[in-house]
Symmetry: D2
Subunit: 460 residues, 4 copies
């Protein structure tokens, strides 16, 4: 028996590969060539054939790879019956699918989405003794799935459903059952996840704060959880319900020289995304480019760009562009014509125009805040503001900044802050692109501010 | 938090690497260059420094890598207090060592060996809630550790100790605790291990047959378990108590041409070990060579050769010799001058002498058994005979065959059988080397015999 | 400037990747996924885009990858003007294509095929100083290309053309020019190739025996060269003229258990190919299977099977099946449903029927030949017989054996010999499949026979 | 026959591995663990044993790996007779060493160093026809070796010796001989090297400008070549004559957290080296650190630090520190205790002090130069100044800047320029460390200045 976790950095998503004897299954595959090849390689190395593909639910944060994997293997796709999927087969609560010496039992666990399933793993020799549960976005290590996605109006109902799913379907499996969730720390599908890939039901019952709440407390807590909902989730929902575009027609980005890159960025619908860290972006970048650090490419393009935009990448070194393209592929961005090969240095050596973004550490920011010589914009998520904000800061999540700038003053220097400085630099690049001229990122962000014991006030 | 299992194929041994923040620890490292490098690479990739090395007990089936890893990292070595180790620090029951945000609690669990420890993993945030237990050779998935090693006379006492260790120290940790044993299926340190790398205490309580026995039943069961004890265990015990020879003075085997190989095999103390599968060995080999299939190289050299012997390898392809050398290194064989580069074909192309070993499938064996025209030697372990043997077979475990041949008749063809044909071919090669001329291996062995529903009788 | 040789083991074919600045080209790509991926990876790592694909000629021994590579890159395909290719652009003698700081000059060099081109590499800074020549199948290290392929009747004419191509077009480039041929030692597109990947024109002029002949001597020599022409060459010519089937519809072979394999081999059009070495095949195989050692899979399937046959593989270990499938893909075999996962041992453990092939070393063969108690079939190529044959042997190249058996006696043991024993085992398996019962392969073959100084006579 | 080039990025040095049959040799191995492992792996994969190690000369720019490779293989080391090496065997002009089917002929070619040898490769079958020449630092692609190293006083004599070595020993081998030099473009052992790894003697005769000079012209040209001589060359000469320290006592750098790094940098003899690109360094770095970009770590530590200094690295991502350590190992720096794991961001998140370096693109520099509001320091090599300098610039090679600052004004902003901005940033960091407060690097450097057609004047 083989269980392998295929982690997606950035997304913090886990695909699971299971093999027993000559048969294998995959849970929640992603539509990205290297991810899919890894599934096929694991099967080959296990001497097994992928027979079934299980989806825990219609994901909103990445594109399902089920159809691509089916094309390569002929496997049957299964998912919940509660949505009108245009592909695959529905499973009902209690359905059990066998492979090798194992079986997976599907249990309906609505709450995060209406058609969510979890899959419980059994050795066929002990059909009443669950080994592990693949809990999708219902139960995480140290947390639970968000319930706001089906709609604001239904939050109360969905929180109650999730409570019941967790308590009646999952926890009742027994303390000894290993927990394999779909997401780890860093995912946007929940908050406060632990940094382990797995847990057990018993350990979660003892330590997961969400599981210590009464039904009413849980509902109240979940209804009040603050999440942002990226615009690209709608695209993912469409793709994952109706089937995404084939990867056959997707091409990898090409290495470009300065001239080719300069021509490409002048095209309508083209945007330059600088995927270097903020220090490097600050020390010189192509005017008009956005700064999304590499790890953020798993998520923030979905906030910043529509799916018609051609994305041109500026990497620190070429392979970072290849990684960024994997991230973009996972969230459905298929128009990535190329990247500046050799990185930003090639640009500056050709004496092309260069722009800078100031970096203002907290000890330099503090006196300017005291004298109001600068305006601070805190671009963290509402959820993060709950632990306190810098007095006087404008609060505007970076995902909304591009569309919502009116109250940011143009007559004064502006500093942008997030938790450590990544989203801050994205925010600063948005402001620079919008014509602001005295813009700073705050390196270290709120983390550094805290480390200095500078004043903090409650968010509201 | 990172937990990685470093598996040793053949040995079925698990080394564990754990990292949290900037600190890492290794449990039960092995003295083999690639194994050690993997530990160091994992640390480097985790951004962590290996601070501690934990030994669950003095192993008998491989050489500890603790001293080599200490040399590379400066880490502190810990082990049980019950043996006079010449290196490392003793831990008492209840000692707790912290690293990063985690800690490991040592618990004394004698039975398999007197100084056995298990290590229980905690998040420092929840110091009373165990996450996982590294149970060494005390509790396995679906089985428990053997208790015969400290000596025949003490089996009763040690079985009782193991029962108490498991029930009072391990099972009491709670159903929710994940179980990480030192061995998986295929190890010689127990029998009947499951084919999963991990389990939970709760799942084991429900399914592990050893845990369903009363104290008395358990003692009786363990005392009657039949194990063979390879002669090299003594060497391992010496090495692991007093410190093994340094790897600095060990050289990797050299590729050899036919002439160099032919010269080398004539040296006193040299033996040729053909590491190909039995079919290939049967279809042609160097006269006088032993046949130990690649997977068996993790164990059977310890039965066949003393530590002064120079081992010369004949691989199917060169990289198999490199793998075999890793296996040999793990069990302390440091004299492996070379291998026949290009494999056996190079030998036959030079018109060097060739010997064959007949392969006698069960449907050809059956009528010869019926007419007594052949003598069958069953070289499986006593434990395996318990499920039945072929009527008329001589029962002699392959590890004892070299020394104990008198009742094998020389006037008739002899067939050698094991479970599938690997050890059978080793047995056949032993007989050929001893001058027997009509020797056959039984491909498929007892497994194929069973598949044909041929007659089987109880062992005694 | 980057030049990389992508070698195909077995085929002994060289694809060339060249990059300069931001542009790259590929010469003679092969239609095999891993080969193509290697081209794309090299381009990516070089920061270059593949702009052009050059074909030296319509190859007969593998499928061109030009169209697949074009699909992935948009590159332009170039080849000779002398054949009505259904894809790509024709180049005339003297055409020069630039990329980065380099250029390639096309020169028409008919002889091996009518439309053969060589490509001469220049630094644009020195447009009159050739650096290297990619000579396709015209000039090899230590040899020259075969001239029999366009037809027996035209051999005289083509030999003359090749002489003129070499002497007037290639050698005149100057001693200092590096030579990069399309094939190395082991290719079927010539004989006697040296074991270096490259040479220089000057070194070849000094050492290549073909270049020391006068025009008349050369023509006589080439006309008398003995080559066999595999039936699959026709398919390759068709594919390479009109475009081969897309790789999109080709699936990789699946790992199969014993039952699935047993069902598959009973299908009409299915054949079992055992890709293990002859010793292993001899020591046990599935009845009715052909034995083609792994290295031979680059060639001999084209002699043995038509393109409708489903090939089922029996590997020594699983990854050998994956390698064999790469070889099959290169020569256009796209129906490879699966392989016996875990190898032949799985079969014998299930007590399935097993067949053997005797191995008769030369010292055992010799006395039997002396007494005519055995018939020997020499299955080497006619070209190899020129250096002598065993007196009394039937001479029949293995590629013709399946179709041409009448004079092989069925009343006596038959031994099959080739140069070392690989093709001998294929020949033996053909005879066994044809109902011969006393069949032996001669391990070491004619090489071992020679090593023993046993009698040899001229072929005719 | 196998020839493999093992390139060292940064150093632009080529080690050569050659194998024939069962024997292999290595030419000019480097003392770095991964380089040595690559030699051993190549041998193993070739089925060959490394018998001989050849040194072309006592190198000045890296540490020889001959003794380490000898320790691992038992191979014999050969080098020139003209220096009192404390290890290895001397070869005389005309000595020939055979391995497999090949041989290497040693020819004395003094000029670069007194004991320089080249090695000429022959197939034993054609003992009078050289295949290739390994020319060390005598003849490069498009250039020749520097002759200033044995001493200023002997330049005239050594230039003459080199001319004679090249013309009488190397060029006379014949146009057809392939040329394999010890260095490619970017090495400090010559200038103007071509970007190919190999050439032929004939091609060099036609295109290498050094070979078109008469003896007198050549001597004049070489005597006037301007090279800088790094202080670490003395250490390398000592190591390579007497044997370097063993790698056994060298440890790899450890990943460090902010606190550990902060403690380490306060130690006497410790220096912080920031190995990020100048943009990233400019956008924030640890105060007092030097900026040597990753590629420059193969060389510039030897200019900046003595061998007692402990080097602490700040990488962009951890693996860059591992690469930098390989570079340091090659030039004999063995004290590299650790690196800031997670990179500079970890530092800023902890609110530790941050320093910046301004980046002043050429279009911003130009008007400031016009008004003398800034002082420009050109830190390129004297050789580079020959193609022109910016009017008004102070000329001071970066290697001398640390020791020679008096004329750099402290009352005005200072900009530092090199060819593209790498050494400029090192220069700027030297000035900042020396207490200069208004310091700028010029991104794009003289290359960008040229691209803008800004005024340039002759160096002197």
């Amino acid at each position: 028996m083989i269980i392998r976790i295929l982690k997606a950095e950035g997304l913090a998503h886990n695909t699971y590969f299971l093999a027993s004897g000559e048969e294998a299954v995959v849970i929640d595959p992603r539509r990205e060539p290297a991810d899919l090849r890894e599934c096929l390689d694991l099967a080959r190395e296990s001497g097994a054939v992928i027979r079934y593909i299980f989806e825990t639910h219609r994901n909103e944060d990445f594109v399902h790879g089920s159809l691509e994997l089916q094309k390569a293997t002929g496997a049957t796709i299964y998912h919940g019956a509660g949505l009108p999927f245009k592909y695959g087969q529905p499973l009902q609560d209690g359905d059990r699918i066998s492979f090798g010496k194992l079986s997976l039992l599907a249990l309906e666990t609505p709450g995060h989405t209406p058609e969510s399933l979890i899959y419980v793993l059994y050795d066929q020799k002990y059909p009443d003794e669950p080994i592990a549960a693949f809990t999708g976005d219902a139960l995480f290590v140290n947390s639970t799935g968000r319930i706001d996605l089906p709609g604001e109006a239904e939050k109360q109902v969905n929180a109650a459903k999730l409570y019941d799913s967790i308590h009646s379907k999952i926890l009742s499996l027994g303390d000894q059952v290993v927990l394999y969730p779909a997401h780890g720390a860093g995912s946007v599908c929940g908050s406060g996840m632990g940094d382990r890939d797995w847990s057990t039901i018993g350990y979660e019952k003892r330590t997961n704060p969400h599981l210590k709440l009464s039904r009413d407390e849980f509902i109240t807590y979940k209804v009040n959880e603050k999440f942002v909902r990226p615009p690209y989730f709608l695209k993912m929902e469409d793709y994952n319900l109706n089937g995404p575009p084939s990867l056959d027609s997707r091409s990898s980005p090409m290495p470009m020289g300065v001239q080719a890159f300069d021509e490409a960025l002048r095209r309508k619908n083209a945007e330059v995304v600088d995927i270097r860290l903020p220090q490097a972006f600050g020390g010189g970048h192509i005017p008009g480019s956005y700064n999304i650090w590499l790890g953020g490419m798993a998520l923030f393009p979905g906030w910043m760009f529509d799916y018609k935009t051609e994305l041109l990448l500026v990497p620190y070194e070429d392979e970072d562009a290849w990684t960024a393209d994997r991230f973009l592929c996972r969230i459905g961005f298929d128009k990535v014509p190329g990247y500046l090969s050799g990185g930003f240095e090639k640009w500056q050596n050709a004496a092309m125009p260069v722009e800078f973004t100031g970096q203002l550490p907290v000890d330099a920011l503090k006196p300017l805040m005291d004298t109001s010589d600068i305006k601070l914009v805190d671009v963290r998520e509402p959820r993060e503001w709950q632990s306190g904000v810098v007095p006087g800061a404008i609060l505007r999540f970076v995902g909304y900044l591009k569309a919502d700038l009116p109250d940011v003053p143009r007559d004064r220097p502006v500093a942008v802050m997030c938790s450590v400085g990544h989203r801050g630099s994205l925010g600063a690049s948005i402001l620079q692109k919008a014509g602001f001229t005295q813009v700073y990122n705050v390196p270290g962000g709120f983390t550094a501010w805290r480390a200095k014991d500078y004043p903090v006030k409650p968010a509201r």
